[in-house]
């Protein structure tokens, strides 16, 4: 067993906190993009993920992803022996996490719980990403149930496929990491393709917002969007560089690649806008930043910094076009989870097959470095497998919720604003006028209420 490293532990715990910050960052990013009457519901969809997934992860989620995998053996006749196809971690291996408090419980050079913490924040943000597709119209109960079912049935298994290496936390890990050998440094498949395609399934099942495509639905607060994009970029250094699971060269390479790709993607998106629409916009800059971050996520440890610039530029340019597809195809992916996360995740995952640099920490050669097509097909199989599973499973979960507790709030509530209907709150009170009365028995102030108010001394 490797010895626990203080430096690695410090960096990974710090990174875990950075990744957790991405979820409130995402809440700002998404919240600013919806209309003012839905800002709180949009932000709450991210926040509730921290609640539900945080608890599930501790109880059995971590075990489902990183426990010793159930599966089967293939290739028994091969000269190098059989390979194990891991499909799902044993949910009871680390249930409740109590067994991991022992000083002997380690994951590589980390205390096991540091790894649990880091991966917990990944699970949280993965679910939260999906919410952008269903802005302004989903019942909060429906979404909350979705976070639970999607975590258990989609994210936990897929995270195991991609992130669980044989012998790291259990004898057998997941099939994509070990058998297929697709490279996914920090979650291009497990998180972005997964969440992006699941968002499409939800948008299809829920249907569009009232007025989608005909009424203007412009972002109500672009400054919140910019703040959110900034927080996401900051947190993403933990997401990518932390995925090295050590404080050393690999983390530093991932950090620089995260800078390079994101910068290039923002430029790429803005150039498309300038040439196509005439103006580089702040929403374009914020979206380009996120597209670049998504693109470099799978590739942060396997390409050179210049390769990262290429991935970022391609992601920024392609996503700038991809976000227009929803109007042509008629699905209301409200905040472009498909156009940015699915497309950006695909770009990064597949470009590894071309741009993987043997001098990088991953040490794999892509097509442009003389590695042939070997890595490219592995990347493609991993991406398609995750996308297919996630789409089908998410579609079924969404249908189940639709047929049982229901998804959509009433048209009247949707038109007057989901914040008031689902949360009994308003996002902003910017008025200097004192409109409200504190103690009231009836909805409109009546003479009876005045007696009550004066008795308790409430409301001034």
């Amino acid at each position: 067993m490797l010895e626990i490293s203080a430096g690695d532990t410090a960096w990974v715990l710090t990174s875990a906190a950075l990744v957790l910050l991405m979820t409130p960052g995402l809440a700002f990013f998404y919240g600013g993009m919806v209309r003012a009457k839905g800002v709180l519901n949009m932000m709450m969809m991210s926040f509730i993920s921290m609640g539900t997934i945080g608890v599930l992860w501790v109880l059995f989620g971590y075990s489902m992803a990183f426990g010793n995998s159930f599966g089967f053996e293939v290739g028994a006749s091969r000269p190098d022996g059989p390979t194990y196809i891991g499909l799902l971690g044993n949910p009871f291996d680390f249930a409740g996490l109590a067994s991991l408090m022992s000083p002997d419980a380690a994951a590589g050079t980390l205390p096991a719980l540091a790894f649990v913490a880091f991966q917990a924040c990944f699970a949280i943000i993965a679910v939260a990403l999906v919410s952008g597709a269903i802005a302004d119209r989903a019942s909060f109960g429906g979404w909350t149930l979705f976070t639970v079912l999607w975590g258990v049935l989609v994210y936990f298994p897929v995270a195991g496929w991609v992130f669980s290496f044989d012998g790291f936390t259990g004898e057998h890990g997941g099939w994509i990491a070990n058998w297929l050998g697709a490279l996914d440094f920090a979650g291009g498949t497990a998180i972005h393709i997964n969440a992006g395609i699941s968002a499409l399934a939800l948008a299809l099942v829920l249907g569009p917002r009232i007025g989608f495509g005909t009424k203007p639905m412009r972002p109500h607060n672009m400054t919140l969007v910019m703040l959110g994009a900034g927080l996401l970029w900051f947190g993403w250094f933990g997401f990518n560089a932390g995925s090295a699971l050590s404080a050393g060269t690999t983390a530093a390479v991932a950090w620089i690649n995260t800078l390079a790709a994101t910068a290039a993607a923002m430029l790429g998106w803005l150039i498309v806008e300038k040439l196509r629409d005439g103006h580089p916009t702040s929403l374009g800059a914020a979206s380009g930043v996120v597209a670049g971050l998504v693109g470099i996520t799978p590739a942060a440890g396997s390409v050179s910094p210049v390769g990262a610039i290429v991935i970022g530029a391609v992601a920024g340019i392609l996503c700038a076009y991809a976000v227009g597809l929803k109007y042509k195809l008629g699905y209301d992916d409200s905040l472009d989870v498909v156009g940015v996360h699915f497309v950006g995740g695909m770009v990064g995952t597949l470009l590894i097959g071309f741009l993987a640099d043997p001098a990088s920490p991953a040490g794999v050669a892509g097509l442009f470095y003389g590695g042939g097509l070997d890595q490219l097909w592995r990347q493609a199989v991993g991406a398609i497998a995750v996308a297919a599973y996630a789409f089908v499973a998410s579609y079924l979960i969404a249908l189940l919720i639709k047929k049982t507790i229901g998804w959509r709030i009433s048209p009247a509530d949707e038109l007057s604003g989901i914040d008031l209907a689902e949360h009994s709150e308003a996002g902003y009170d910017l008025s200097p006028v004192y409109y409200t009365n504190k103690v009231q028995r009836t909805l409109v102030l009546s003479v009876d209420d005045l007696v009550e108010a004066e008795k308790t001394g409430a409301s001034k």
Partner: protein, 112 residues
């Protein structure tokens, strides 16, 4: 019918609303408006840069009433909105030709 319109201090709104409710008024409309009369604006400073704010936030309150109620209602508003300071506002009454309740199509007194 008459339309009673009052421009009052935002801080007085709650007192005025309560006084009107106690007087038996069943509905009212308010809007945020800006303006100045005897009371002048103020100066705001951002990083040493000074800006004069001429127009001050006020509340415009509108109540539709039958002719015979207008005077009494005006008195209620004036009494409730008065602090004695410059900027307490104004109240005026104007005649109204027709009132229609959108939901039912009732008109005039029945619509108030």
């Amino acid at each position: 019918m008459k339309l009673v319109t009052a421009i009052i201090q935002p801080e007085s709104l709650e007192t005025v609303q309560k006084a009107l409710v106690r007087h038996g008024v069943g509905g009212m409309t308010i809007s945020e408006v800006s303006g100045y009369g005897r009371q002048r604006g103020h100066v705001e400073v951002y990083r040493g840069e000074e800006y004069t704010i001429d127009f001050i936030t006020k509340v415009r309150l509108e109540v539709l009433v039958d002719d015979e109620d207008a005077e009494a209602l005006t008195g209620v508003i004036v009494q409730a909105a008065r602090t004695g300071q410059v900027g307490d506002g104004k109240v005026w009454i104007i005649p109204v030709d027709t009132v229609v309740r959108v939901r039912t199509g009732e008109s005039d007194s029945a619509a108030i």
